[in-house]
């Protein structure tokens, strides 16, 4: 018994050590920095004051960007789910001999740098891009149709980046479902659709929720699609952090924004893990 309670810690120790040293400690530095001051030269002055936080909440500008980020992240999650579930289900059901190959294809976009992929949308959606070129040639439109540099284009870029995460998360979870369960359901007179709704869908929820969480969190930390595909008002919180930390070398304020964002995300992830988390669902299943 003693041996058993010690075992999970043994299994966890390498991960915990790495994450502790390379994440927890550095993040503590960030939190400490958020109370510091910035000298005009860009050097940091140790201090303990809440000026950076006060600045963030002084008017609606910064909180507004944070709220906008959350909204864009939720929209991205929604579209990812719509676009991702069916392909994942297809992989699960298909008996094609090309299945592994099709799976690898999902990861293929990653082979081309994120920056290049994002820039590539300009060649498709831009004023002289593929789509406009096609419609102009066909004579369907007279003026190029403006599709770039708005929030839609940003979400498009985000989807392009995040969809594989969603598909693979859902697929892995679907693939773990015991086939005999759906067979049993059908044996009891369920139609294919009912079997899906009553058995497959609920059992795939761990993957769905993991995918949603992942997409949400990653959207909050991404700055390239808004930078490249967005218009002037489409910047998200990560762009702001990037500009403060790197652009103006204002580490204390950048740290304060980061701390606020990390705090928010930590609450979300913790709540998720507690109420609808992987372990919770597993507990429910294992009791049966």
């Amino acid at each position: 018994m003693k041996n058993k309670s010690f075992r999970p810690w043994l299994l966890l120790s390498p991960s915990l050590t790495a994450v502790f040293l390379l994440l927890v400690v550095p993040v503590c530095f960030v939190v400490v920095y958020s109370f510091w001051l910035r000298a005009p030269s860009g050097a940091d002055i140790p201090a303990f004051q809440f000026g950076n936080y006060a600045k963030f909440f002084a008017d609606f500008f910064y909180p507004g960007i944070l709220l906008k980020t959350i909204r864009v992240a939720l929209e991205t999650v929604f579209f990812c789910l719509i676009m991702g579930y069916i392909p994942a289900y297809f992989f699960y059901k298909t008996e094609s001999k090309f299945k592994p190959f099709l799976m690898i294809l999902v990861m293929l976009p990653f082979w081309i740098s994120f920056i290049i992929r994002t820039l590539s949308w300009i060649n498709i959606l831009g004023d002289s891009g593929m789509i406009n070129h096609f419609f102009l040639q066909m004579g369907l439109i007279k003026e190029p149709f403006a599709m770039l540099y708005n929030e839609g284009a940003v979400i498009m870029g985000l989807l392009q980046y995040l969809l594989p995460f969603m598909i693979l998360n859902i697929y892995v979870s679907l693939d773990g479902i015991d086939n005999s369960l759906t067979e049993a359901a059908k044996g009891l007179g369920c139609t294919e659709w009912q079997a899906f709704r009553e058995v497959t869908l609920p059992l795939s929820l761990p993957g769905v929720s993991a995918g949603c969480l992942l997409v949400f969190v990653l959207t909050c930390g991404t700055y390239l699609p808004p930078m490249i595909l967005g218009g002037p008002g489409d910047e998200l919180i990560a762009n702001l952090i990037f500009k403060r930390v790197i652009g103006t070398l204002d580490w204390p304020f950048g740290s304060a924004i980061s701390t606020i964002l990390m705090g928010l995300l930590a609450v979300i992830v913790y709540t998720y893990n507690k109420y609808m988390g992987i372990s919770q669902i597993f507990n429910a299943l294992s009791k049966e």
């Binding site: 820039l119 002289s128 002037p232 008002g233 790197i246 652009g247 103006t248």
Partner: protein, 386 residues
């Protein structure tokens, strides 16, 4: 050669003994050492340092710039001295300063950097990253335009911590198919605020200075001493409604212009030259008070100055400097009255045949750095439409 190496090893050993040993040892004794050393190659730190002293790192802009430097400066240097030059690309001025600020030990990772703009020279100095170069060890400095050297010396108390390397402007690029040359020249800086170009204008989003500079020119003010800042913000607010895209990189600037997504924008002269070379219908306009800047090879504190000075001299060899100029389309810092400059380079925008740079307006580092934080934040708000 062996003697040189010995001397260098001695230097390394001394610097190792001198300072900074305390916390390192503290770390070791406390037992984090195992992990910390494991992840940073600790026990080999000394070996790394000795090894590193046989090489010098030069951060530059990558691509054709690095190619030219490697071929005409680094390889000959390595051949002559046996010292390896590690050439690396950085991601941008600001990101590089962030890296330097966070690096340890000083001079260990970053030695020479191809930096832009005089106000950044002042920032590195303010953060204490400057050195004092021995100009007598860099004979090729005699060919460099005097005004460029004096500008830098004015910031670092009569000394140099960098050698001027090339010259550029942020002027105005316009699509000659859409905007006639006559019209562009008549409007000057005001072309960027022309209402009839709504939805076809661009600007550099990442830099408040460039935007404020041209807004100052547009409102008839001296960019280095803006009296009516509110007027500048008001103009930029109006301009925002006309802008299609605030670009974030030279690459984006070029593709926006080349694809006809925008017809006029502020633009880096070298990028415009690049577009013209490829035959795109892009004109370059340098109105009175055009924003000029220089690039220089900065030597960072902690670097072995003897090696650095020798390398800088190789980089200032006319052959090397001109090759780099061709590669990145910015004219070199060499004085055309002292060095023969090929015609191809003479045609580059921002080239000055007199070598005196009269009429070139650089950003006043004190003025812009003292307002940096306030204006950068204000600019963010204007851009976001708040």
């Amino acid at each position: 050669m062996t003697k040189d190496l010995e001397k260098r090893l001695d230097n390394v050993y001394e610097s190792y003994k001198e300072g900074r040993i305390s916390r390192r040892d503290f770390v070791k004794f406390i037992g984090i050492s195992g992990a910390a050393l494991g992840l940073t190659g600790g026990p080999f730190g000394l070996v790394n340092k000795a090894f590193a002293s046989k090489s010098i790192t030069c951060h530059s802009w990558g691509g054709s710039t690095s190619e030219a430097l490697r071929k005409f400066a680094f390889d000959p240097f390595t051949k002559a001295t046996g010292i390896e030059v590690v050439d690396a690309a950085f991601a941008g001025m600001d990101a590089f300063l962030t890296q330097v600020k966070a690096s340890y030990p000083p001079g260990g990772e970053f030695n020479i950097a191809h930096l832009s703009a005089v106000y950044d020279y002042a920032r590195y100095k303010a953060l204490g990253f400057n050195v004092v170069l021995d100009e007598s060890k860099i004979p090729n400095l005699k060919n460099v335009m005097k005004k460029m050297i004096d500008t830098l010396k004015g910031i670092t108390d009569g000394n140099l911590s960098a050698v001027p390397f090339d010259l550029g402007q942020t002027g105005i690029a316009y699509n000659t198919d859409q905007i006639s040359k006559a019209k562009a020249e008549e409007l000057g800086a005001s072309l960027l605020y022309e209402k009839s170009l709504k939805g076809k204008l661009g600007s550099w989003g990442g830099d408040f200075r460039t935007n404020m500079w041209y807004a100052a020119l547009h409102t008839g003010q001296n960019p280095n001493n803006i009296k009516d800042v509110d007027a500048v913000w008001a103009v930029l607010k109006e301009q925002r409604e006309l802008i299609k895209k605030y670009w974030a990189s030279g690459s984006e600037l070029m593709s926006l212009l080349a694809n006809g997504d925008i017809y006029a924008t502020v633009a880096w002269s070298g990028r415009v030259a690049g577009l013209q070379k490829q035959g795109h219908p892009i004109g370059y306009l340098a109105p009175d008070g055009t924003y000029s800047w220089m690039e220089y090879m900065y030597v960072l504190k902690g670097t072995d100055l003897n090696i650095a000075q020798k390398l800088l001299n190789f980089m200032l060899e006319p052959e090397a400097a001109i090759a780099v100029a061709k590669g990145q389309s910015y004219p070199p810092s060499l004085d055309p009255t002292k060095v023969d400059i090929p015609e191809e380079v003479q045609k580059l925008p921002a080239f000055d045949p007199t070598g005196k740079l009269n009429g070139y307006q650089f950003a006043d580092p004190d003025y812009w750095n003292s307002h940096q934080l306030e204006w950068a934040e204000k600019w963010d708000r204007i851009r976001a439409g708040k």
